[in-house]
């Protein structure tokens, strides 16, 4: 019972916060709501017995990425939101599609049958500790995707330098 209540709280607040982030006009407000969102996601991880993920969530996202966001907002120095005419005045259409998609998802998910759980039960993770279990998997079974991810990060760095650092030649 108390588990459901916890989950309901986190799920509800995360949804509301996500909506707040995308609807605020002031980017600083968006970033602040995002900070709150990251803490709630970390809480969700804790609640799932994933303390390492929770710590990483706070350190990397709240500590690292969010600060970068704030710097970007600070440096861009947006006094006023750029007002441009909409290409398509399709708010009712997109709203209809969104509601339709939501209904379809809810209807289909009613037939969802969860697969039997894998070998990493809560007891096993408690015995092994979460960090160790995660690390072990990451460097054995999931070594290949882990290495591919490193390439993605490299491309991101190259891309940032190519797009931002090169002097403009006109």
């Amino acid at each position: 019972m108390i588990q459901q209540a916890f989950f309901a709280y986190f799920a509800f607040v995360i949804t509301i916060l996500s909506l707040l982030i995308v609807t605020r006009k002031n980017p600083v407000h968006s970033v602040m709501w995002m900070l709150l969102l990251f803490f709630h996601i970390a809480g969700m991880y804790l609640f799932l017995n994933a303390e390492f993920m929770a710590a990483i969530q706070v350190i990397v996202y709240a500590g690292g990425i969010l600060v970068l966001f704030l710097f970007a907002v600070l440096l861009v120095n947006i006094r006023e939101e750029l007002q441009i005419g909409k290409y398509i005045g399709a708010a009712p259409t997109s709203f209809t599609f969104a509601v339709g998609l939501f209904v379809v998802i809810v209807m289909s998910l009613r037939s969802f049958v969860a697969a039997p759980p894998g070998i990493y039960s809560i007891e096993l993770i408690k015995q092994e500790t979460h960090t160790k279990a995660l690390g072990k998997l990451l460097y054995t079974e999931f070594l290949y995707p882990f290495e591919v991810a490193s390439l993605i990060l490299l491309v991101a760095i190259i891309g940032a330098i190519v797009l931002a650092k090169r002097r403009l030649k006109s």
């Binding site: 289909s108 998910l109 969802f112 049958v113 070594l143 995707p145 991810a149 190259i158 190519v162 797009l163």
Partner: protein, 476 residues
């Protein structure tokens, strides 16, 4: 805890390619002449292609990496794509004043992503390969930083690409929740064991995957990004991404749907058929009203994705082989057309309007002749390769009982003749208005020669390529 290094031999091509991309990245520091870097890249890719045939096949890293005939055939398409794109880039990026070494390493990284996708035996690896490919292409699309259209292309591609990734991840997480695994083969056996084929949430995840892959292959209604991105991106990159990411998208579409969702064939065919029809309709009809040739070829590439989808819809090895055959042919004829377009770009002249082609046959007969061949091939007129590609796709669809779908495809194909042959008409039957000077270079000439010969030879002797595709897929 004992750790065993997995068998790295089957993935030699990817490893060598990664090393090559890193070498090219570093060589940029030392080598001032960027043409040398282009040469290193091409020689390197040729070497990687060699390792592709000497590396043993099979799965490694569990079954996360699969090297089989299917993946090998697609990798050959990627190598042809990357070599031809580099050939047409060398002069062009100098004209555009973006002659930087990172250009080549990003193209190589993007190709590594495609190779990983074609060989992915696991949905996580598939996703990461897709992101590696896409991320490099976003940067390449915005490579001309001083051109606002290029910026627009990169931004649109990035935002919509991120959006489609969200669909992909949602689809994957649903499949994982249903089956408890991300391994493509294990998903297939779990679905058929538990009789999940009719499960609505599985259908939902299939629909999400169609959205995500449909975005990569630019199928309607997920094609919105393509015209703007193809128009704004550097022309060489437009050529690159109209072939590579599309082929990679088809590679994963084929593997995931034919293997993982094999027992839900009926369900995904029902989703894919309207998508294919809509794709052919949107691509061919909207292309009629374009005035920019890059935009027109963007819609044409949407239409071609529609034809190739027929190969997947047939859901048998015959259809897949004709789809692979088609993508190989498309690589040659499309890059060939872009190699002509790229010649019209010169200092201070954009040359991407269809009206720029007026009277080209009088001023530059050879270029007009080559464009004529590629336009005929894209329309599907014999004796060019485009005809053969369409013929095999349509034949396999008829054999699978989709005669009505082929009738629709042929009608749209006839419509497409209007906008392809309009360019031919402009070149041959109008008087030149503007003074067009061509930017020729040796490397672009090589690319044109290779593509022209390929289009004509495959058009006259089509059997061997199809046999190759059929042999590649035999063990699928």
């Amino acid at each position: 805890m004992n750790f065993q290094l997995p068998d790295l031999a089957p993935m030699m091509p990817e490893l060598v390619m990664t090393a090559l991309a890193l070498v090219v990245l570093l060589a940029d520091l030392l080598i001032r002449k960027k043409e040398v870097i282009a040469l290193i890249s091409m020689a390197g890719v040729a070497f990687v292609a060699l390792t592709l045939f000497y590396a043993p096949g099979g799965a490694t890293f569990g079954t996360m990496y699969i090297s089989d005939g299917y993946s090998t055939f697609f990798k050959v398409i990627f190598f042809i794509n990357v070599i031809l794109s580099v050939l047409i880039s060398i002069k062009y990026i100098a004209v555009e004043r973006v002659n930087y070494g990172e250009y080549y390493s990003l193209i190589l990284f993007s190709t590594i992503g495609m190779m990983i996708m074609a060989s992915a035996g696991d949905l996580i690896v598939l996703y990461l390969g897709l992101e590696l490919m896409a991320l490099s292409t976003y940067v390449l699309a915005g490579f001309i930083r001083h051109d606002i259209k290029s910026n627009e292309a990169a931004l649109k591609y990035f935002l919509l690409g991120a959006f489609s990734s969200a669909f992909l991840l949602y689809g994957i997480s649903l499949v994982y929740g249903l089956t408890g695994t991300t391994d493509i083969k294990a998903i297939a056996s779990f679905i058929s064991e538990k009789g999940l084929a009719d499960n609505l949430s599985l259908l939902l995840s299939v629909a999400f995957l169609v959205v995500a892959f449909g975005f990569k292959i630019a199928a309607a209604p997920f094609h919105m990004w393509a015209p703007d991105v193809y128009e704004g991106a550097p022309t060489s990159i437009t050529a690159f991404m109209s072939v590579g990411p599309k082929a990679a998208g088809f590679a994963v579409l084929g593997r995931v749907f034919m293997v993982a969702f094999a027992s839900a064939k009926v369900d995904w065919a029902v989703i894919l058929i309207p998508v294919a029809i809509l794709t052919m309709a949107v691509g061919n009809i909207v292309a009629l009203s374009q005035t920019n040739i890059k935009r027109m070829l963007a819609y044409s590439s949407i239409a071609h994705a529609g034809y190739a989808l027929l190969g997947i819809i047939t859901a048998n090895n015959d259809g897949l082989a004709s789809m692979m055959n088609y993508l190989m042919i498309y690589a040659f004829m499309n890059i060939g057309a872009f190699a002509v377009i790229i010649m019209l770009r010169s200092e201070g002249f954009k040359g991407d309007n269809i009206s720029d082609y007026e009277g080209l046959a009088k001023t530059h007969p050879l270029a007009a002749m080559l464009m004529l061949i590629f336009m005929f091939s894209l329309t599907g007129i014999p004796p060019t390769a485009g005809f053969i590609g369409k013929l095999y796709i349509f034949m396999s669809a008829i054999n699978a009982g989709y005669t009505w779908l082929v009738v629709i495809a042929v009608i749209f194909s006839a419509i497409s003749a209007y906008f392809y042959l309009r360019i031919v008409m402009y070149m041959y039957m109008k008087e030149p208005k503007t003074d067009v000077s061509l930017t020729t270079s040796f490397s672009n000439g090589v690319a044109l020669a290779v593509t022209t010969v390929a289009v004509l030879v495959i058009g006259v002797l089509p059997a061997s390529l199809l046999e190759l595709a059929k042999a590649a897929i035999s063990g699928f």
